[in-house]
Symmetry: C2
């Protein structure tokens, strides 16, 4: 095995917690009433309707390709309108939209990646835009060896060309890459493309802990090559 490819949103970074924290800080700076925005619900809808559902429509061919920054912005405009927020000027809205470039890693992520990076090529393989992932890495000091974004392949995960395009760029065979994700559906698609898979559950991704990982329909050990509680456990499992 030569390269580890990481899903990012939810697997490396806590998108929900970061959006909530930035939203609450913005509301406090602006002096908004505390109940004007439920930032947890705001974050969840931004993610679910503005990103997940939009990517699914693009993947089904119902909408043309669009960058994630633009998809996020479209939903943000809707959310701000629905909340009656009119006191943010264009730079402030653009700055809020770029919260997705400033997401905070899970507590184990940096230390785990640093251990893994000593032995393997480590890279994101995310649906996030190339610039978004580059800015996020710089902001959070993620020690990636290169940035791999679905944008490079003109298709979003779980389309096979994303996984196959990534290993081709790295000059390795699919079986020489390990896809690391908190989402079984991502790993199943990677496995179908010939990659190895590591499942790192992130039970707090959607807020309250869930006892059952989403989308798991068959016993985990029989589907994935590695299962680890976090990136430190992953490093240990891989002998780093």
């Amino acid at each position: 095995m030569r390269a580890l490819l990481f899903d990012v949103f939810g697997t490396v970074v806590d998108w929900r917690g970061t959006v909530i924290r930035e939203g609450e800080a913005l509301a406090m700076r602006r002096g908004w009433p505390v109940d004007r925005v439920d930032w947890a619900a705001f974050a969840d809808r931004w993610r679910k309707e503005g990103y997940t559902a939009a990517l699914a429509r693009i993947t089904r061919g119902e909408e043309p390709w669009a960058r994630v920054d633009d998809l996020h912005r479209r939903m943000l405009d809707t959310l701000l309108h629905e909340h009656g927020i009119r006191d943010l000027d264009e730079p402030a809205v653009a700055q809020l939209n770029r919260v997705w470039h400033r997401l905070t890693p899970w507590p184990d992520a940096l230390a785990g990646l640093e251990r893994l990076q000593r032995r393997y090529t480590v890279a994101p393989l995310s649906n996030g835009d190339f610039a978004l992932l580059t800015n996020m890495a710089k902001h959070a000091a993620l020690p990636w060896d290169c940035i791999l974004s679905a944008e490079l392949f003109g298709a979003y995960k779980q389309r096979p060309e994303v996984y196959l395009g990534a290993v081709q760029l790295l000059g390795i065979a699919p079986a020489e890459a390990l896809m690391v994700a908190a989402h079984p559906s991502d790993l199943d698609a990677a496995r179908a493309a010939g990659l190895r898979t590591a499942y790192v559950p992130r039970p707090l991704e959607f807020g309250a802990p869930t006892t059952e990982p989403q989308g798991v329909t068959s016993p985990l050990p029989s589907r994935f090559d590695v299962i680890a509680d976090d990136f430190l456990a992953l490093a240990a499992a891989l002998g780093c």
Copy 2:
């Protein structure tokens, strides 16, 4: 200005010195007669005929696109044949071909890049393959924020789509990027695409120091935005 894009071969790393050193070490390990290979001449032909001339033919449309690794290998096979070297097996030839993944930075490069990286997004923008540049960065600890390779755009510098594709992926305007190179022709092409330019001469790139930089046909100060003796001087010039 938000991003600095670096030419790599000759600007960041000393390809000639590295090939000579690795070649001499190989000859010593194998016990070859000292005069069997003139490694400086070997390096120069490998570069000039195997890379520069091949890229020019591809850019003129005379040959189909090929990866730099494969172009290097083609010329290496020719050179080994001409030198009557038959005692290298396939793994040894492949290992020698990958010397281009292990090039040594110029003495100022790492320290300069580390200073520049604190303030700007820094990335290679090289004709080297994506995997080659990723492996080189890992080998030499180059602090790139992302890897940008001509391979991503299916064309080699000095085609404008390489410079324009790079700034598009970074989500910035051409004028927000500074192309850094030891080769005026690269900078002229970047400037034509709307990028800013920094000229860092590397007088030892081709061995004996030259007093005149290659390809300079008009006064330097009027053509480039910055001129610096090395990456430390560049960092100082940019206030890092």
